[in-house]
Subunit: 414 residues, 2 copies
């Protein structure tokens, strides 16, 4: 089955935003065995949209359309689709209730323009939007499916996951593909490839491997093709078991787990609590830990100690050590971890001190130099990392290295 | 003058990479007054590439093509272009010297596949690549210009900046397009549209307006077309001045500024410092503030007070008030802000307490209920916000609302 994606919006054509929606949609479609043949981006212009629909319909059976469904005047996708499918907008009571509910929950007044969000094309299947006010619309014409979704990424993603992907799997016969994603931390892409070379060279022919690296981790995705689900599942289990012998400590999870969730679960299992004392990561570790629902069970709090006075006054770091070893040093990061552990009365404490950049580096301590400490009941573990030049990537890398260090300690790996 | 962009590569269609090249090319073209009408992405497939070229050539005078120029077997753009323009590859001595130089400088051996990089189409204008080994090629057919570039972003960007953009400006008469992006916080898209309706209805015909909303802000982008740069600049200035009378307090910045940068600059100008006491935002405000390089000048630190004990022990919130008013209450958030301001000895302090969700809501205090306080030298300001159901969006919204509240206080708006 072949799909095309059409993203609509002047902001894409003038380069003001990078179209990440179409990459995400492509990935999801590939996972269910739908092949994306072409992506097109056009502006908020009726004739350009119609032309793109015409061309795509000659090549694909499934056409995904994002953007241009908002309540403002520049959003013309809805009226254009009506013209294209020779139909008209009608007021939909059910969708109106969704839109109304959206405002009632937020205790916001509703405007006439919001009311118009409940107008949908007369001859489409309406897809509800649980995250926003613009509903999706699914049209069919000459055997081609056209699915219009909002351009706001989290609204589009929820609509795809909750409604559209399940409907596609239900309605169309797709080839059988199973995927398994293995999450690793601690080895860069090329070192990982070197470590698992033998395993990779012996993979069966119907199994494809992809490396997906980011500052958080390197994901390994196995995709296996065939007819017999049980056999495929068994083959994936076998390969996973073999892979684990090469990466016994690096694998932290599977599929869509996050490192912060895995660490949270380990803390729960150990009935342990955690706090953080952050300098270079500036609250990002705390932000990651608390982005997990239910984190209040194990996360108690943090001191973000950006200035030296906060380090000395609140965390009881010795001024003497800051002066003699520098603020980015093993001595200081140990005292930060132990200081916050005592202050917050937690079982474990994470501390970071580093030079996030782009300024502040020296020959001895270049930008990217970062000390991480984890204080526990019995001892405090430390390690120095040296990242690169990008401030925000350094903050991310240091945060995930710290979380992975705590994971390894909780599992008695270090 | 109208352009189209065709990006080539299977990795784009399976969603493994996000195509950022086309956004960058669009932005550069818009800045010189070239209008991008459509972008298309196709795989490494001869027929698909030829089809995309055919379609684009009916609509545009300038066609930019990226990707598929590498030395490996899956790269077929060069042979496909030769077939399309009915020509053949020839060995180019000058380009060979460039390729050779590339390996000599890096002290790397040259492979036969690298030598083939010096083969270019017989009837094109060759564009040198100073950052890599794949040269660019500029074709002309029936008055349409086709420009093929490598897909590696920094090679493509250097080629555009050093050769292609200057050549386009030299060879074609271009109109002027000017853009101005105005950043607002505090009004949702539809409320903003209502507020500025009168202004929007009276915009000149050659000016287009776009609304670009996100949890951080709503951006308003004006695009104006014409010949006389000075006149256009004046028209944008005029409209911006008029718009400011409708949105005197909501506009916080322009173009690519972020709210955290704007707040940081205001703190610098006021020689003021800030700290945060975060419950529901869990360190995200601190993370945003410290993501700005140089933030140590005004940001001193934070207490992330997730548990009640941290609120009472570290921030000196009265247990009595937590018990009688609840932890998500005006009373508690005031004490958090004043507590951290005292502890960190800062001029201002931001505090948040809310129910990020998805659990923990009640009838009286549904998920999304958030109290924000800003403590200053003389008084403490508070406000209650009610967001929606998505935990991570609630954290983002609360963080940006808090930053915007501090901005308004620093500007004496509230």
């Amino acid at each position: 089955m072949t799909a095309e994606i059409i993203t609509i919006g002047d902001e894409i054509l003038i380069g003001q935003i990078i179209d990440s929606n179409s990459a995400w949609i492509s990935e999801q479609l590939n996972l269910i065995g739908v092949n994306v043949r072409q992506k097109s981006s056009v502006g908020d212009d009726k004739n350009h949209i119609i032309n793109a629909l015409d061309e795509a319909s000659k090549r694909a059976q499934l056409i995904f359309i994002t953007g241009g469904l908002g309540p403002t005047k520049d959003d013309i996708t809805k009226s254009t689709l009506c013209e294209y499918f020779n139909t008209k907008l009608v007021f939909n009571e059910d969708i109106y209730k969704d839109v109304e509910g959206f405002f009632v929950i937020r205790k916001l007044p509703m405007l006439e323009s919001n009311r118009m969000q409940a107008e949908v094309s007369e001859n489409c299947e309406v897809i509800r939007n649980f995250k926003g006010t613009a509903p999706g619309m699914w049209f069919e014409k000459n055997g081609v499916q056209y699915i219009s979704m909002p351009g706001v990424p989290f609204e589009m993603k929820a609509m795809m996951e909750d409604s559209i992907l399940p409907l596609i799997k239900l309605r169309f016969k797709l080839p059988f593909i199973l995927h398994r994603t293995i999450l690793t931390h601690g080895l860069g892409e090329s070192f990982l490839a070197q470590r698992i070379e033998e395993w990779e060279n012996n993979l069966p022919n119907n199994l494809r491997l992809a490396y997906l690296p980011s500052p958080e981790h390197v994901r390994l995705r196995m995709s296996i093709y065939g007819d017999d689900e049980i056999q495929l599942q068994k083959a994936l289990d076998e390969q996973e078991a073999k892979l684990k012998t090469y990466l016994s400590k690096e694998i932290y999870g599977f599929e869509k787990q996050t490192l912060e969730e895995v660490v949270g679960n380990l803390l729960k299992v150990n009935k342990a609590t955690v706090s953080t004392a952050e300098s270079c990561t500036g609250g990002n570790i705390s932000h990651l830990l608390t982005s997990v629902s239910g984190s209040s069970e194990y996360y108690k709090g943090s001191v973000i100690a950006y200035s030296n006075e906060v380090k000395t006054n609140v965390l009881q770091v010795k001024l003497n050590d800051i002066e003699s070893h520098g603020v980015v040093s093993e001595e200081v990061v140990i005292q930060m971890a132990e200081g916050v552990r005592k202050l917050m009365q937690t079982d474990y404490a994470i501390a970071t001190s580093g030079i996030a950049g782009p300024n502040g580096g020296t020959n001895e301590k270049p930008v990217g130099t970062t000390w991480i400490a984890i204080a526990g009941k019995k001892k405090t573990w430390t390690k120095k990392f040296v990242y690169a030049n990008d401030r925000n990537i350094n903050i991310q890398r240091a945060s995930y290295s710290a979380l992975d260090s705590l994971r390894r300690i909780l599992l008695d790996y270090i």
